[in-house]
């Protein structure tokens, strides 16, 4: 490894902090790298499944990053993708089993999507791009950072979809308590459908790019 530093660097050095905070904005997996969009469409109709999905991805990504990073010098290059997949898949199965045992209702709602974490390209992408070449601690931070970057977008999308589509926030009937239905307000059923997630993500990307000009590609 090229970056062998004799003197131990502090746990939260500026470089490590970047690993956590960059994926939240400038290197966001969803809005900038456009990875993991599929699950962002599928689980964001309500806040609760979106939260559990984010949490599951956080656990899987952080753990997979650490495991791969620990093994990185032993993994034969020729089968590294297979090794990564096996590790992701087993972690996902573990998460799925734990959810089935302790959060049965949520696991029913997420149904196949937990299994589909395996195919979430954010995870493979981070393992291949980061964990294979870095020490466990930075890899762990990188995993946490990317999962948080993925998670907060999911929660924002889910917040608006649930509020406008079902009139609730975390199953709490906001619109009803505000009495908006008495004025003829109707829930927008369209918000429940997957295309609206894409549009909400699009709006987030739009806002982000108008605030951070560096993200806008030159023509």
């Amino acid at each position: 490894m090229s970056e062998e530093v004799k003197q131990r660097e502090p746990l939260f050095s500026p470089k490590n902090k970047k690993l956590i905070f960059n994926p939240l904005s400038r290197e966001n997996p969803i809005t900038v790298q456009v990875l993991g969009i599929c699950s962002a469409l599928a689980v964001t109709a309500k806040l609760e499944p979106a939260f559990v999905m984010s949490l599951s991805v956080l656990v899987v990504l952080a753990a997979a990053n650490v495991i791969i990073s620990l093994l990185r010098n032993t993994i034969p290059t020729r089968i590294r993708i297979i090794v990564q997949l096996v590790i992701i898949a087993s972690l996902v199965i573990l998460v799925d089993q734990v959810l089935k045992a302790f959060a049965y209702d949520v696991s029913k709602q997420l149904s196949v999507f937990v299994g589909l974490i395996i195919t979430n390209c954010i995870i493979m992408g981070r393992l291949e791009a980061f964990a294979m070449g870095n020490k466990p601690w930075p890899a762990f931070l990188d995993g946490i950072g990317n999962a948080l970057g993925y998670g907060w977008i999911l929660l924002v999308v889910a917040f608006f979809r649930e509020l406008l589509g079902s009139g609730t926030i975390w199953n709490y009937p906001v619109m009803e308590n505000l009495g908006l239905y008495d004025f003829g307000y109707k829930n927008n059923g369209f918000m429940i459908l997957p295309p609206m997630a894409l549009i909400v993500v699009g709006i987030i990307i739009w806002i982000q790019r108008s605030r951070d000009k560096e993200l806008v590609e030159e023509k």
Partner: protein, 253 residues
Amino acid sequence: MFSNRYIFIYASVMVIVVAAILSSAATYLKPFQEKNIRTEKIMDILKSVSIEAEKAQADSIYNKYIVEELALNMAGEATSIYKDQNFEKGDIRPFEIKLKSEIKKKESLDAGKEAEEPNFPLYICNKDGETYYIIPLRGKGLWGPIWGNIALKKDMKTVYGVTFGHKGETPGLGAEISTTEFQKQFVDKTIFDDNYKFTSVKVVKGGIGTMPADQQIHGVDAVSGGTITSDAVSDMIADCLINYEEYIKKQLK
């Protein structure tokens, strides 16, 4: 570079380690998962007679309201009776019967193949002094299995309530069968006509307005855009209830 030998050994060790971890996790978590599935079954049964049960009390509420469990053969005779936590007859608790395999047995029999005689569970519920008969349902939806429970009133032909569940019907379309709006339609419909001829309750595409007026009591509106799931619900109700026809006729005599 890594040698082929190293790669083979690496892959084998990895697979064995992973298999060991996963199987021990599955074994350890299984009791918890089975308890969840069981609790859900109990809550579904209770929901069909409009009893809302919290997860924690599901068992005790079930024991309070469900006074008898029966297993019925095709001739309508009870092969097992389970009452007050005791077997009065037989040794298979009707609650533990897996409807899926019983339906398979019946299908093989119908196809002329050899199979054991199927037994179908029936739950007798006593709520506020009224008796209700709860029949579990299972069928094939568009994408996967669908299931449910139908509760009949004392006359054994009027529907008191239903619940439906599904594995993976299309959200917004077929999946609507699990909403209360859809399920409410079944209340007070009848599965027999006045002469106790079996009619089932059909889910009608285009609405029950398209049925003759005297038939409307045996129909409910289908889900728009969910035709196949709606038909599947019709089939499921008819196929499952017909197994109880003999028993019901005996009871009424």
